[in-house]
Symmetry: C3
Subunit: 349 residues, 3 copies
C-alpha cells in the first residue's frame, strides 16, 4: 500500500514539512528506515539517530523539526500518531465471518453472524459472542460467558463462567480469564475449598497479554475497567479492581481484593499485597513490593539494583547487623555528648 | 434452591440463634447481603460490617454472637462452615458420563465409564482415567499418565508422561504438569540436554492453579503430597517435594530438588532456591528469597516495602556504602574509647 | 535394552575401570541405583554417596576414580557423558510421519512428508514445517510461521506470525512464541496500541520451557540465538536479543529491547530492565534486579535471604532510616575530630 505524505498529513492531522507527493509504504525504526518508510522520534533516547535517518519522513514534535534532515510530520503526540499511522499502513486482515466446521457450539449460544469462530473452539451453552468478534483457534468460552463486539481472542484463550469482555478487548494466547480464586478455609490441619461464586468483568478496550491469569471474584466480582493494558504473565487475584487506563507490565502479581486506581503505571514483576488500595495516578517501578496502601499520586520503589556478588554479600552481611550499628551509634552519641544528635537518638529508639 | 436456617444448622452442625423457619437461597458478603442470603464473619477485618448487615443469618464464632443483629449460625470454624454451606447451596453441575465424539483416545487407554472426556481432549495410549473424573475440553493426557477418581481438569490442562494425579485433584486451565525439568550439562561452551526420566506424583485433594507448571523428576520423582494447594502461575522444578497440606500463593518459584515440609504457607512471588529443605509449619511472607534451609517453624521474610522513589534512591545509595559506614563507626568507637561497644566492634569485624 | 560396559566405554569415549562384559540397562541416582544401572558423579555435593553406591558403574572424573567401589567410566565431562548415555539408553519414541486426520492445515502450508502433525493442530496458510519435525497435539502455527528440521513442539505450543524456529528447537507445552509486544502510546489520558510489526527469530538447538512467552519485535526483531536454554514461565519482551548458549532459569522477566550476551547464566526470577545490555559470560544470581548495563563478565546479585520475620521487620525499619544514621555518624566524626574518617565523610555527603 502506497500513500503520499500529503495524504498522511491530512488524514492524521500533522503539519507537513516537505514534499506532499513523496510516496511511502511502511514504517521502520529511525536507524533502519529506507527511502519509502516513515519513522518517528518519540523519546530523546533516539534523538542522535535523527540526524542520520534515511526515512522518507519522520513524525516528531515541533520542537525538534529543525534537526530533521528529511520530511517531517509534526504533531503533538508523535508516538500515538505513529501508532495510528502504522496500524493504517499495516492493516489487520479482515475478520472473516463464520464458524469453523470443527468448532463445538453449546445449546443456546448466541453467536453474531458477523463473528468469526476458529478451528477447535468450544463455546459453552448460553454464551454470547458479539458482532465482528474474532474467536481464534482452540479458544474455550465457558457456559454463560459473553464477549462484546469487536473483541479479539487471538488463539487458545480460556474464558471461565461469569466472564464478560467489553467491546474491542484484545486477548493474547494462553490467557485464562475467570479461573477460580485461591480461597481455602483452615479446619483441623487441612483446607476446605471456598466456592468462587463471583464474576469477572472486563471493560472496553482492555488488552490482556499472553499467559496472563485473572481470577473471578469469590463472592463479589473482579473488575478490570476500560482501557486497562495488561502485559504477559500477570496474575490478578479474586475481587481485585483495576481502574481505567492503568497499565501493568509483565509478571506483576496482584493479590486478592486489592484495588488499583485509574491511570496507574505498574512496572514489571511488582508484587501487590491483598486488601490494600492504590490511588489514581500512582507509578510503581519494577520489582517493587507494595505492602501498604498508596494514598498520594507519585512514584514508588523498593527494588535494589545488582552489585558484583562479593560486594553484595558483604553489604547484605552488614545490613543484617544494621540493628547493632544503630545501637552502637546511639551509644557513641550518648557517651560523647554529641548535642542534638543524641536527643534525636533517644526518640529513634 | 431454598432451605431453612433450621435445616442448615442441623446439616452443618451449627448452633442457631434465630428463627429456624427463615428461608435462605444463597450466600453474599456481609455488606452486600440481601434478605435471603447467609453471610459469614471470619476475620476481624470485617467486624464493623456485622452491625449493619442485612443478611438473613451470619455464620460466626460464639465470641461475637452478641454483636449480630440478625440470626446467627454459631460454630467453631465459621469460614470452613461457610465454605461447605456455599458449596451445598451453589452446587457444581453434575459430571455427565461419556466421551465427546471429537476426543481422540489412544490405544489401550482405560477410561472409566462414569468419567467425562470433553471436546478435543487427547488421551494417550495406555493412560488411565478414574471414576467420575472430569477431563475438560482441550486437555492432553500423555501416554501412560493416570488420573484417579473424581479428578477435575477444568479445561486445557496438559499432563506429560509418568504423571499420576490422586483422587479429587482439581487442576485449572493452562496448567502443565510433568514437563521436562531444566537440566543441561556444560560441555565445551554449549549445553547437552539431560534426559528427564522421573515421574510426577500428585496426591489426593491437591488443587493446582491456572498456568502453573510442575516438572517431572530428572531421575527420581517430583512429589506433591495430599491436600497441597497451589495458586496460579507457580513454577515447581524437578525433584521438588511439597509436604501435605502446604499452600503456595501465586507466582512462587521453587527450584529443583528443594523440599518443603507439611503445613507450610508460602506467600506470593516467593523464590525458593534448589537443593534446600524447609521444615514443617514454616510460613514465608510474600516476595521473600529462601536461599538457605529452614529448620525451625516460624515466620520468615525478606521483602522490602515501597518508599517514595526519591527517598528510596537515597536509601539504596546509603545501603550500597554500608560497609564504609560500619568501618567508620568502628573507627569512632576505637578513637573515643567507647567501652563495651568498642569491644563488640572488634568481634564484628 | 541391555548393553555392556565395554560397549558404552567405546561408544562414549570413556576409560573403563572394571569388567567390560557387565550388562546395564538404565540409569539411576547414586543412592538409588540397583545392580544393572549406571550412575554418575558430577558434583562434590554427592561425593559421600559414592562409597555406598550399588550401581553397576559410575561415570566420573579421573580424580575420584580411586574412591569408586564399583566399575568406573572415566571421562572429562561426567555429567555431559551421563546425559548422552541416558539419552541413548532411554531413547525418545520415533517420530511417526504423517498428519493426524483432525489437524487443520491452511492453504499453501508446506509440511515435509517426514514431519508429524498431531491431533487438533492448526497450521496456518503458508506456514512451513521442516523434515522430521514433531508438531504435538493442540499446537497452533500462525500463517507464515516456519519451523526447521527436527523441531519438537511437545503439545499446545502457539507460534504467532513472523516466527521462525531453528533446527532441533524443543518447545514445551503452553509456550507462546511471537505474541504482540507491550507497546502503547499515551494520548490524552488513554493508550493507543502500537502495532507490533517485527519478527521472532529463534536459532538452532534452543529449548523453551512450559508457559514461557516471547514477544515478536515492535519494528525490528526479537532474536534468540542458537543453543539458548529457557526454563519455564520466562517472559521475553519485544526486540530483546539473547546471545548464543545463554541459559535463563524459570520465572525470569526480560523487558523490551534488552540485549543479553553469549554464555550468560541468569538465575530464577531475575528481572532485567529494558534497553540495557549485558555482556558475554555474565552470571546473575536468582532474584536479582538488573537495572543498569553489565559491561564486565562476573557474578552479580541483589537478592536478600530471609530472616525470622520479627528480626527482618526491625532491619527494614532501620534501613528506612539509614539516611539519618549516615548523617549522625558524620556529625559524630566532625565533632570528635576523628581524622581521616571525618574527611571521607565530607566527600560522601
Amino acid at each position: 500500500m502506497s500513500v503520499s505524505l500529503g495524504e498522511l498529513a491530512v488524514r492524521f492531522g500533522c503539519e507537513l514539512h516537505g514534499n506532499p507527493d513523496t510516496l511511502v509504504d511502511g514504517v521502520a525504526a529511525l536507524g533502519d528506515a529506507h527511502g519509502r518508510a516513515i519513522s518517528f522520534l518519540a523519546s530523546s533516547r533516539y534523538r542522535r539517530q535523527l540526524a542520520h535517518t534515511r526515512a522518507a519522513a519522520v513524525i516528531l514534535e515541533a520542537a525538534v523539526v529543525a534537526e530533521c534532515p528529511v520530511a517531517a510530520l509534526v504533531c503533538e503526540y508523535p508516538y500515538a500518531t505513529y501508532a495510528r499511522m502504522a496500524a493504517w499502513l499495516h492493516p489487520q486482515p479482515p475478520i472473516i465471518a463464520g464458524i469453523h466446521p470443527s468448532a463445538v457450539i453449546g445449546a443456546d449460544a448466541r453467536i453474531d453472524p458477523s463473528a468469526h469462530v476458529g478451528a477447535f473452539a468450544v463455546i459453552g451453552a448460553g454464551a454470547a459472542i458479539g458482532a465482528r468478534a474474532f474467536i481464534g483457534p482452540h479458544c474455550f468460552i465457558a457456559a454463560g460467558a459473553s464477549v462484546a463486539e469487536d473483541v479479539r481472542l487471538i488463539a487458545r484463550v480460556t474464558l471461565g463462567e461469569r466472564v464478560t469482555l467489553g467491546a474491542r478487548a484484545l486477548v493474547h494466547p494462553g490467557a485464562v480469564l475467570g479461573s477460580d480464586g485461591f480461597g481455602f478455609a483452615p479446619e483441623r490441619g487441612s483446607w476446605v475449598k471456598v466456592p468462587q461464586l463471583g464474576a469477572l468483568k472486563v471493560g472496553a478496550d482492555v488488552e490482556i497479554g499472553a499467559n496472563t491469569t485473572i481470577d473471578r471474584g469469590a463472592i463479589g466480582d473482579t473488575v478490570i475497567e476500560e482501557g486497562v493494558k495488561l502485559d504477559n504473565q500477570i496474575q490478578i487475584g479474586h475481587n481485585v479492581r483495576i481502574g481505567a487506563h492503568s497499565v501493568l507490565a509483565a509478571c506483576v502479581g496482584v493479590s486478592g481484593s486489592a484495588t488499583i486506581g485509574r491511570h496507574c503505571m505498574v512496572g514489571g514483576a511488582v508484587g501487590i499485597v491483598g486488601h490494600l488500595s492504590i490511588c489514581d495516578d500512582a507509578v510503581i517501578t519494577g520489582f517493587s513490593l507494595v505492602s501498604h496502601s498508596i494514598t498520594r499520586p507519585g512514584v514508588y520503589s523498593s527494588g535494589i539494583p545488582i552489585e558484583e556478588a562479593g560486594v553484595w554479600r558483604r553489604i547484605v552481611a552488614r545490613l543484617k547487623r544494621i540493628d547493632s550499628w544503630a545501637a552502637r551509634l546511639a551509644a557513641v552519641e550518648r557517651q560523647t555528648n554529641i548535642s542534638g544528635a543524641a536527643a534525636r537518638s533517644e526518640e529513634d529508639e
